[in-house]
């Protein structure tokens, strides 16, 4: 019963609205990811949960208790700051021991706990060092150790991977997930990076300009994005979006834009939109290149550019002058201008309203 609930929280800074009517339950033991662009209100939401900010409207519940006005000292939360916020004048040991010092434990008990957490995070060799003399990755582990040693109800992470270099970041994702699973610790994790959400989160809350766009199981949100914003944001590379008209021809419905024409007769929910402009979404990773067997739609495309990213490739294509990106999970180098067949299936298509941006599939039900 240690679920945390955010209810209808609104926060303004002067005239700027940072959060607008945000509600969310955070189940115990979950890895809860707040995803959004810089300035979307992620940090503000975390700070409100921690008690570092007080919302203008709405409440925060820890279990049955309304903690909206309870100061951070009495919330039993831990916060890993973006800059880690280690105490530079204290040793790593003292940094980690800091939350324990107020609990009236014996020196021996404190040492035991600190060493336990430190060895769990493999930083037990650093305990005598000062934070300014260890690496960024190590500093982060110290910050995490300081959070975990408290055994908090809720562990809040504010973009902890942003300050790390690429290699460590990759490594940390897996470690985060394993750690969370092993400890059963409830984690709320704010990040601007969709890969963080997809690789670690159980539940994702997508924020945009202070409003909740969608809150769902992360794969549910990936498969059934609530709107264009979630569709584009939750995924890498970004979803291809095309604008086109729904029109009837003979017995079937077609979605048409310049260059593309798709038979969408099997999508019953699109019937009411006949004659309307509708946005079509197509994830780069759903486009098959070359081998189009099993595809429901096939086109001939021109390769504009093969952009190799690590061991993957983002292929920039052009179909009758319409630009789109495809994602190939291997190195795929082709000369520009080469023609290649591409294909995708019915279930790979997403349709959004051109006015509200809402997902038309979800709109119906």
């Amino acid at each position: 019963m240690e679920e945390v609930r955010i209810r209808n929280v609104t926060k303004r800074f002067g005239k700027k609205v940072a959060l607008q009517g945000v509600s969310a339950p955070i189940p115990k033991g979950s890895f809860f990811c707040i995803l959004g662009e810089p300035g979307a209100g992620k940090t503000t939401l975390l700070r409100i949960i921690a008690g570092l900010e007080i919302p203008e409207e709405g409440e925060i519940f820890f279990g049955d208790q309304d903690v909206t006005l309870v100061p951070p000292q009495r919330r039993n939360v831990a916060f890993v700051f973006q800059d880690f916020a280690l105490y530079p004048h204290m040793s790593v040991f003292e940094n980690i021991a800091s939350p324990l010092r107020l609990k009236g434990l014996s020196e021996e008990a404190i040492r035991k706990k600190v060493v336990e957490v430190a060895s769990f995070l493999k930083i037990e060799k650093l305990l005598d060092r000062l934070p300014n003399f260890i690496s960024g990755g190590e500093r982060q582990r110290v910050a995490i150790a300081r959070a975990l040693v408290k055994e908090p109800t809720l562990c809040l992470f504010d973009e902890p991977l942003v300050n790390l270099d690429y290699k460590i970041r990759e490594d940390m994702r897996a470690q985060f997930k394993l750690m969370q699973r092993e400890l059963g610790q409830t984690i709320v994790f704010a990040t601007p990076d969709p890969i963080d959400a997809l690789s670690m989160a159980d539940i994702v809350l997508v924020l945009h300009e202070g409003r909740v766009q969608q809150m769902a199981n992360v794969w549910e949100a990936y498969k059934r994005p609530a709107n264009v914003f979630v569709g584009k944001y939750l995924g890498f590379p970004e979803m291809n979006i095309f604008e086109g008209r729904v029109s009837r021809s003979g017995n079937s419905l077609f979605w048409e834009s310049k260059g593309l024409r798709l038979d969408i007769g099997s999508f019953d929910f699109l019937k009411p939109y006949e004659g309307a402009t509708v946005l079509l979404g197509l994830r780069p990773e759903d486009i098959r290149l070359g081998d189009t067997e099993g595809a429901d739609f096939t086109f001939e495309a021109n390769i504009v550019l093969s952009e190799v990213v690590g061991s993957d490739t983002i292929v920039h294509l052009s179909v009758e002058g319409v630009a789109l990106r495809a994602f190939v999970p291997q190195i795929f180098r082709r000369p520009s201008g080469e023609r290649i067949p591409i294909g995708f299936r019915h279930e790979d298509l997403y349709f959004f309203s051109s006015q509200t941006g809402k997902n038309l599939l979800l709109q119906e039900g």
Binding site: F81, A85, Y87, H89
Partner: protein, 273 residues
């Protein structure tokens, strides 16, 4: 094989030696003079090395008003510095963390700084009349408050730089760890601005210790500071150089102690600004 001579280094060291002599010689000469009898002071040629250590001048300073003047200076400088640093710490914290209230916004901060932009003498006449009207002229209170008024902007301005450099998240981490505001100030903020505090103490102290006009105008009879006492060391038309030198040697001591203790912090603060 010819030894290579590094001319640049040689000139540099030579220059430093000359500069050292230029700076240290007056101090040495004061020291030398303080051990002379007044008759020997005017002797031509002067003796460059003290032949006998005559302590008459020191005796005079210690037995007379000189001792009281030095003690007064110590008391006034210590109390005023303490007040300026304590208030300065609190004000600079507020200026750094809450710069949006009417008392701490940019305008208010600038107002405080302007006190320091004019030479003290520009304000001294009104300050003199104010204390006279209050009947507080020539009291510890008037001197301490006046010095504090001049030192506070300096303290705030120096300490605010250190406060600004202190990330807020460190304080917030301490709150999340469970520490109260005052515990956080004591555990986190004060230790981390320690070098700033040391440098501020030193600069406030030095300002008071070297100050003459305020000491002369606002004190002088009941509460006489050593800088105001110094010019009175005359016998008729004769200036008692040996006594002046003895008082000066004694007066240098506290400043030297502070400079030696806080040297590295002072360098830091000069490099910063």
């Amino acid at each position: 094989m010819r030894r290579k001579i590094n001319w640049g280094k040689g000139v540099g060291i030579g220059g430093l030696i000359l500069y050292g002599i230029f700076i240290l010689f007056p101090i040495y000469w004061t020291f030398n003079t303080s051990f002379k009898e007044i008759g020997d002071v005017y002797k031509v040629p002067p003796s460059f090395v003290p032949t006998r250590f005559i302590l008459d001048a020191y005796r005079f300073i210690f037995q007379g008003t000189g001792r009281i003047a030095l003690l007064n200076s110590l008391v006034v400088a210590a109390i005023s510095t303490a007040i300026a640093v304590v208030l300065g710490t609190m004000a600079s914290y507020a200026y750094s963390r809450y710069p949006f209230t009417p008392l701490t916004n940019e305008g208010a901060q600038f107002n405080l700084l302007t006190v320091r932009m004019f030479p003290p003498i520009a304000f001294l006449l009104p300050i003199f009349w104010m204390w006279k009207r209050f009947g507080l002229l020539d009291t510890y209170f008037a001197l301490i408050i006046t010095y504090t008024a001049f030192n506070l902007p300096l303290a705030v301005w120096l300490l605010k730089g250190f406060m600004d450099a202190l990330p807020r998240s460190i304080e917030e981490a301490s709150y999340v760890d469970g520490y109260s505001f005052w515990q956080t100030i004591r555990r986190i903020v004060l230790p981390l601005i320690g070098s700033g505090l040391a440098a501020t103490v030193a600069l406030c102290w030095i300002f008071i210790w070297n100050e003459f006009i305020i000491a002369y105008l606002l004190g002088g009879r009941n509460v006489i500071l050593y800088t105001a006492y110094l010019p009175s060391l005359r016998r008729g038309m004769r200036i008692m150089w040996n006594q002046i030198a003895a008082l000066s040697v004694l007066a240098i001591i506290p400043s030297i102690i502070i400079l030696v203790l806080f040297r590295k912090y002072l360098v830091k603060i000069y490099l910063r600004s």
